[in-house]
Symmetry: C2
Subunit: 264 residues, 2 copies
């Protein structure tokens, strides 16, 4: 695994004390350019780890890839920060990439997003799976234990996939979108059924994160942080169980509580 | 001012207690589409407040606008979530918008970003302004006091501009990029000199936030949160004083400490 942080001299000031020079760990941020069928698609700024997962997860979340069977080849040149993805079927791609002109940074999305949104509105998650509140609490405790880069740098978001017993995949990244996309990529590669799985995230629950889960038909999304109004609205429409402020003994259920067994 | 949160029923679960239904406040997330010279440029997902600032700040941060004098007209249709911006000089625009094809969400940037980066590398901040550590501590205390939507919802990021005496502008938004862009817009409209001003943010210090400050030639950037490796690297190159983990009595200076007077 590639190193995810570097050491850096820093000047620490404390009120009423002399300045103290010490060494701090900084999370790595690096550009990562994805080439799709030979043309440059995007440059993400990310923490350079699990870049194959990030490339596949990004393509899935952006609607450019449905299943790993569509991938002809995936080559990651880690040191250069480049991924080259070749898909078997190239036909519908140009139009989609053209549509991406309206997509931007700053947690923004363009027209493509709203098409996706409309199609998803008619695609609610049907899973009948249920999980106990106690299991969610244990998952979130484990989730925090696994966040070693965060503990060292304070600069990462985390995302994970859990089943009803344990955390299966865990990722960290400077970006909350990237962290979730790495998990999306893990799910694609694992090829496991997701109808009884749970997405854990350290980040705020915005509409974009909810839509990433919806594209995987994940029935339960959990975060330590707050949800937005649009995220809750979408979770109700898409029948995804949405849990926020999952901290210690407490959690808030914002949508579809029927999948959570209060105690047991 | 438009309401920035809505009330929503939520089910609160606490270990060993019965589920309790209560009312929670959720920060508003809404799509906001910016039309530039009649064509759709981008749809941001934001908290619908100070949308004129957000539109101008976004255009500035993306390199599509340098000064307010270039703006022929700006019309925000709040309820529809639309801004229509007309620039006087339209000539260089098409090429730039075309270049935006590679820009994406998830804290990502495309080729355009790296051109901007290169040009900025040769454009360090020359300001000789200095500020006391005590003043930074007072700014950050005031900054937290002003974050009323965060206190109510837990779902916003904050950004502010301060001079050597007080906090001048303050904004909240679901997105840390949006919050800073709203401040960028305030700066454009205010038309004040920025060579002795300080940018405050609640969010992580990534390369994109640093570049927004660099485009305004702001000499000092402060956050409660952690910086990334690339952000510190850019701050050194661009000679921007970078302060992270500014909490209570403590702060970490990662670049250009000469602008900070340790005590006094």
């Amino acid at each position: 695994m590639r190193e995810m942080s570097i050491e850096k001299k820093v000047l620490v000031l404390r009120e009423g004390e002399a300045a103290e020079e010490t060494v701090d760990k900084l999370v790595l941020e690096a550009p990562f350019t994805i080439f799709l069928n030979g043309s440059e698609l995007v440059t993400l700024l990310c923490t350079p780890e699990k870049m194959d997962r990030l490339a596949l997860g990004f393509l899935k979340s952006e609607g450019l890839l449905q299943s790993p069977e569509q991938v002809e080849s995936l080559r990651v040149r880690e040191e250069e920060g480049i991924a080259e993805v070749e898909l078997k079927d190239r036909s519908p791609l140009a139009e989609r990439i053209y549509g991406k002109r309206a997509i931007t940074s700053g947690c923004g999305k363009g027209t493509v997003f709203y098409h996706a949104l409309d199609s998803l509105r008619s695609n609610p998650v049907r899973s009948k799976t249920t999980v106990s509140a106690q299991q969610i609490r244990e998952h979130m405790q484990r989730f925090q234990e696994l966040a070693t880069v965060y503990k060292a740098t304070g600069g990462t978001h985390s995302a994970a996939l859990a089943d009803l017993e344990q955390v299966l995949f865990f990722c960290e990244d400077i970006g909350r979108h990237n962290a979730v996309d790495k998990i999306v990529g893990e799910c694609l590669l694992a090829g496991i059924s997701l109808e009884d799985k749970i997405l854990l995230t350290s980040g705020r629950l915005s509409s974009e994160i909810l839509l990433k889960a919806a594209k995987l038909q994940l029935p339960v999304v959990v975060s330590r942080a707050a949800p937005t109004s649009l995220c809750v609205e979408l979770a109700e429409k898409l029948q995804i169980t949405l849990i926020g402020f999952a901290r210690g003994r407490r959690m808030n259920i914002y949508a579809c509580p029927e999948r959570i067994k209060p105690e047991g």
